[in-house]
């Protein structure tokens, strides 16, 4: 389902995200009916923010999840991420509960569904309806093979039995994509996705379970559903019967990468809110932002945000350009970014002190975001599950890729390079230990020897990661098979951490190198590269060190400039709906 045309970055990237920004308005304006005050009130009531949902209906957010062949605007995943960051930076409940959960469901259909199923789901999303995605059973977590919910052959098609739990929008959706056991035998071909149209469920065979209350994203309606001998037409199966695990592993590459990238919007607001608070606060006779310790934390968090953005950008572009390799990158992106975002929010909370703890007042949005960001670590795949998926690939990588292959193509990194349509038909279950990004690390560093003298930290981290890739190649080539499974020891899990760091470093170096001619001088300056490399947690379980003094000052200066000009804090600056703070 690809079309031959590409989309121009120059015309498309900033455009729709800016439209969403302006449509939702200044979140801090107390008079804005879509602002933080109203968002927090809805959160206190554990309700979805109704005015926000109507505003997203008016914008037509559902069309962003639908490929153009079916009437939508889903041409580039990086655009989708940027649009959704504008939603997430205001209200993650809207991000997930209005948007991303339907997107996850829909990706299953674009990847494996029939033409009729695609038209049906597209119609629902274009009509502002919700589609939920019910994979989860509390007893089995990420162990999908353990799925008990079943759809067995019966009169007239299938018969559903069992339950799904903690699923977003289960009650208010019009349709549900369900992951079901369709064969009682063991193995990897015993499951299928079903597209369950609620209109086709006979009375008395299905009931909803009570809503699950949650500590974060409190407005999101987490439900459960239980079927008892419920007949379902056979054409409800999505794709080839028995191929559910394969479809899931393909779809997860798109959704794990993009969802955690969207979460970055929360850190943008968290950092902006903290800076706003500290810049108006006097401590020990001077503004809090003049305390070196405070500045250092803020600068480090800004570097963390840029680090996440760099890896997310490359991971997202790879979905378009290198779908054969994204079975690896998607796990790495999800594993890495979730941790950095959560740690950064935590450090900001230590600066806010009591002000992050109270649920009212000017900065109350922070405590909500601190709760709302937690699902980054477990929602839609736990971090450990990502490591477990990477583990058995390590010996193959050591043999097939790490000794050095052709580095990743320049278009993966060039922000002005066009992207082909989302290749739903070319996703694959495994990379088979073949990827090109790790080889880009040495290639990129060697092609830009000036980096080594520009900032000592670039040379230091670059050398560490190159050496570590060599060590990993030796260590992983001889890993005993028992260390590649769920029974692996923590030292083996650490290998995946170190490998992911290499991918992150390569993404950052190559992003810098291929955008030196970018119109924004910040992107051309190796300072951002030095700062983000300095923030890579090189040693598992150990926080990265502070930024060196010169980078501290540079990043803090950049943060202040972006804050005062109301532009977003990621790699590509975008005008936000907030007014210029100095003009207020």
């Amino acid at each position: 389902m690809t079309s031959p045309t590409t989309t121009s970055a120059a015309t498309a990237l900033p455009h729709r995200a800016d439209a969403v920004e302006q449509h939702l308005g200044d979140p801090r304006d107390p008079a804005n009916p879509l602002g933080f005050r109203q968002i927090l009130a809805a959160d206190e009531r554990a309700e979805m923010f109704a005015d926000g949902e109507r505003a997203l209906d008016a914008y037509g957010l559902g069309a962003e999840f639908v490929p153009p062949e079916y009437g939508g605007r889903l041409t580039r995943l990086d655009e989708l991420v940027e649009i959704m960051r504008s939603v997430y930076r205001r209200d993650p409940c809207l991000g997930l509960g209005y948007g991303a959960s339907s997107f996850i469901a829909a990706v299953n259909i674009w990847t494996a569904g029939s033409e009729e199923q695609r038209r049906h789901v597209a119609g629902l999303l274009l009509d502002h309806r919700k589609v939920s995605v019910a994979y989860h059973e509390l007893a089995h977590g990420n162990d999908m093979i353990g799925t008990e919910f079943e759809a067995m052959p019966g009169p007239g098609g299938l018969v559903l039995n069992g339950r799904k739990e903690v699923v977003t929008n289960l009650q208010r959706s019009d349709a549900v994509v369900m992951f079901a056991r369709t064969d009682r035998g063991p193995g990897s071909r015993s499951h299928s996705q079903l597209l369950v149209d609620k209109d086709r469920i006979p009375a008395g065979r299905m009931r909803y379970l009570p809503r699950f209350a949650s500590s974060g994203m409190r407005g999101v309606q987490l439900g459960g559903i239980e079927f008892h001998d419920c007949p379902l037409p056979a054409d409800s199966v999505v794709g080839r019967p028995g191929h559910g695990l394969e479809t899931a592993l393909k779809c997860f590459q798109i959704t794990r990468t993009t969802l955690v990238a969207m979460f970055q919007g929360m850190l943008d607001t968290g950092l902006r809110t903290t800076l706003r608070h500290l810049s108006t606060r006097t401590l020990y006779g001077r503004p809090a932002t003049e305390l070196p310790e405070v500045r250092s934390v803020l600068a480090g968090v800004h570097a963390d945000l840029l680090l996440c953005d760099a890896f997310a950008t490359v991971g997202t572009r790879a979905l378009h350009l290198l779908p054969a390799e994204t079975p690896l990158y998607a796990q790495a992106v999800k594993y890495f970014i979730s941790r950095v975002l959560m740690d950064a929010m935590h450090r900001l909370s230590t600066l806010l002190g009591a002000h992050f703890y109270i649920r009212e007042g000017e900065h109350a949005i922070f405590q909500k975001l601190l709760r709302d960001i937690q699902p980054a670590g477990f929602g839609h795949a736990a971090r450990a599950a990502c490591q477990m998926s990477l583990l058995p690939q390590l010996p193959l990588l050591a043999r097939r890729s790490w000794p050095g292959v052709e580095p990743a193509p320049a278009d993966l990194f060039r922000l002005d390079a066009d992207l082909p349509p989302v290749p739903f038909d070319r996703l694959t279950v495994t990379a088979g230990g073949r990827e090109s990004l790790s080889s880009s690390l040495a290639a990129g560093l060697d092609a830009a020897p000036e980096l080594a003298t520009a900032h000592p930290v670039i040379a230091k981290v670059g050398a560490h990661l190159r050496d570590d890739l060599r060590r990993l190649t030796a260590e992983c080539a001889t890993l005993p098979p028992v260390e590649l499974s769920v029974a692996a020891g923590s030292a083996s899990y650490d290998l995946t951490h170190r490998y992911v760091n290499v991918l992150v470093g390569a993404a950052c170096v190559e992003l810098w190198r291929h955008n030196r001619d970018h119109p924004d001088p910040f992107l051309a300056d190796p300072a951002w590269l030095a700062a983000v490399l300095a923030r890579i947690p090189l040693h598992p379980g150990v926080q990265p060190p502070r930024l060196p003094h010169d980078l501290d000052r540079r990043l803090y200066g950049e943060l202040i400039e972006r804050y005062e000009s109301a532009t977003s804090l990621g790699l590509v600056r975008r005008r936000l709906a907030e007014p210029h703070p100095k003009e207020k």
Binding site: L396, T430, P481
Partner: protein, 94 residues
């Protein structure tokens, strides 16, 4: 990993040698004796998980110098089924 069968690789491996190698490889992962693996029993019953099965296929590819569908072990989950799939890709030595 001390059997003579695994010292050889590529097209000069016989069906018997390949069977031995496969059983040893899978047994090593499952921490069990190769003799305990029934070639007609689905390997999932011994605890071979879906993700590792993909890795085993890649190991077979490298060992034999051929290319297989990555999900071949999902479709042919026994040692004998796998051998048939491999034989379809290239003839084994006598």
């Amino acid at each position: 990993m001390s059997s003579s069968a695994i010292e050889k690789s590529g097209p000069d491996l016989s069906a018997d040698e390949l069977t031995l190698w496969l059983r040893e490889r899978i047994a090593a992962h499952l921490a069990m004796s190769p003799d305990a693996i029934d070639v007609d029993e689905p390997l999932t019953t011994y605890g071979l998980d879906s993700i590792y099965a993909l890795t085993v296929v890649a190991e077979i590819e490298d060992h034999l110098g051929l290319s297989l569908e990555p999900t071949v072990m999902w479709d042919r989950p026994t040692v004998s089924g796998l051998l048939e799939a491999i034989a379809a890709e290239r003839p084994l030595a006598a």
